[in-house]
Symmetry: C2
Subunit: 342 residues, 2 copies
């Protein structure tokens, strides 16, 4: 079957080649009525636009790249859902790349996006990443870039995050109000800004409620189910007294919960456990895992709305970038609820 061309449509409608081409590319000089005629003829003739060629010419594709640390973490897959919904409604397709928390992989992914001529990139930064040239490169090429949740510090780029300080404060305050007094905080190496903020919220809540900030209760390291288990083992080996754990995120909190249950510790009666991110498994386990909800779908939607504005903007990075900060919500489940009212 012969490939249908713009010429065939022009002939069919008895109008010029350039009118058809501009109509297909939604050029403002062409009337809506003509565009409609052209689209109908294109459909009738089964014309398949070479979108790549056309996007190379117009410098504009309808594909957005989203870079995430891991899609196996429901926080990220849920934010992606929010972004997809809005971007799809606006005619954009989403390509995803997962860095698996690796700096090298993240660089490679950005290069892949750029080589695929995406119209823009929405990203959340990998755990390992401390250098940001690959993100600077996007900005230098004047391609829209927006961060969500984990931001590359020092770049003047729009971002949507939650108030991690407030999240850390809420989690700690909730534990205090439930009567817990010796509250452990597990946090990561401090390269990721959001974890610094959660720690700051923890410290401020303790101080506001007149509890001492005991350095032996703050465990630095990593985040994972295994790391959570190791922290509890460590606390028991060192005979550190504690009656609650606030972990920087839910997988770590889940490791804490499992190790406590293995040690026959009653949760929440003897020790309370709260995580962060409201991962989907938290509602399925017993006891249910209390957590801080990060409003994933609103975050995705806000990121998409802001990004659409960038895509339409002529002057991407010269105005001060917008930073949307969403409020986190406390989710109370069985793992911390030992009093009737909190």
């Amino acid at each position: 079957m012969k490939k249908v061309t713009i010429q065939d449509i022009a002939k069919e409608l008895n109008i010029s080649f350039s009118t058809v081409a501009r109509a297909l590319n939604d050029h403002p000089a062409i009337s809506e009525a003509t565009k409609k005629l052209v689209r109908e003829a294109a459909q009738k003739l089964n014309y398949r636009q070479n979108k790549l060629a056309s996007s190379l010419r117009s410098g504009h594709s309808y594909t957005i790249g989203i870079m995430v640390p891991s899609l196996g973490v429901s926080f990220f897959s849920s934010v992606v859902h929010g972004i997809e919904k809005i971007m799809n409604e606006n005619g954009y397709s989403i390509l995803l790349y997962q860095s698996n928390e690796s700096y090298e992989s993240e660089k490679k992914g950005i290069e892949t996006f750029l080589n695929s001529r995406v119209a823009g990139i929405i990203a959340s930064v990998a755990k390992e990443t401390t250098q940001y040239e690959h993100f600077f490169e996007i900005q230098k090429r004047n391609i829209p870039l927006l961060f969500f949740d984990r931001v590359a510090e020092g770049l003047q780029v729009p971002a949507v995050t939650i108030d991690d300080y407030k999240g850390g404060f809420l989690a700690t305050e909730h534990l205090i109000r439930q009567g817990y007094k010796r509250i452990v905080h597990i946090t990561a190496g401090q390269t990721i800004g959001i974890f610094k903020e959660r720690l700051r919220g923890y410290v401020d809540a303790l101080q506001l409620y007149g509890l001492p900030v005991d350095k032996s209760l703050i465990l630095y390291g990593d985040f994972s189910l295994d790391f959570g288990r190791q922290c509890v083992q460590e606390l028991y080996q060192k005979k550190v007294a504690f009656d609650a754990v606030f972990a920087l995120e839910d997988f770590t909190a889940m490791g804490v919960l499992q190790q406590l249950l293995d040690y026959k510790v009653r949760v929440p009666e003897e020790v309370g456990v709260i995580g962060f991110a409201n991962e989907s498994f938290g509602a399925l386990v017993t006891p249910g895992l209390s957590s801080i909800d990060q409003q994933t779908v609103p975050m995705g939607e806000a990121a998409a709305e802001l990004f659409l504005k960038m895509l339409r903007s002529e002057d991407l990075y010269n105005n001060l970038p917008k930073h949307i900060v969403l409020d986190p919500h406390l989710i109370v489940r069985g793992s911390t609820e030992r009093l009737a009212s909190s």
Copy 2:
């Protein structure tokens, strides 16, 4: 800053333009020593290859598209991990697209991949999809296509699946050996082949062990946590006697488990529950959810190895396609283990 070109490298090394160009594209006619020199000079001069243009010329990019129904399902994100590992080791980048089980979205994603000039596509078919022109289109363009887990029936394309019949048989046999006799099977509308196979395994196991196949125990519909809950509600409303449930996948099984616990039914003493896919939450809930493991990482690795052979093949689709079938494994946890030995 002036953009560094192939000419600059040729001048630097005092060799011809075409030697540099072929060296950069790893042409077999160029010696390894020359390629090394060229690569070093390119790096020194900060030459940035226009990979898009070069892949358009050579008809070959180093990007692979993977189409999955949902990355929020750990089965899929885990298979993707297996694929990524092998493909990255071989110099390929992975772009992901999730269809969210929608036919329209799947078509759009394939179009996006084709417009991004991926070197090939690895796919698992959406729940809604019953027409396969978009997959035929890939094959027609002689672009490598491989299916994993969910296959488009009627296409002569390589695939990696597990033996779903055997998985259904193993799950049902395990329940029978645990002494359960009235075993419900929840299955989906029968457009997806893997679910037909699981049902067939269920029926054959019952028959082999001399148990009746009771149609009132086979529930057709959908798959989701909510659907699992609804099935249990329905069985109680219709007063159908049953002592075990084999659900087509784990989220549905989890809904069954939750609804049974809400009804104060003891699991596994009164009713046993087994799912399929060994989702990550199954080990975290109480009681643990028995399931059928689909060997996700081996599946991803097998898919990648087979796909690499396709990428290197001159004659993609003319030989009969290879179909690798992996063996499923029974995972026994608290939700079905009521006897000391099974």
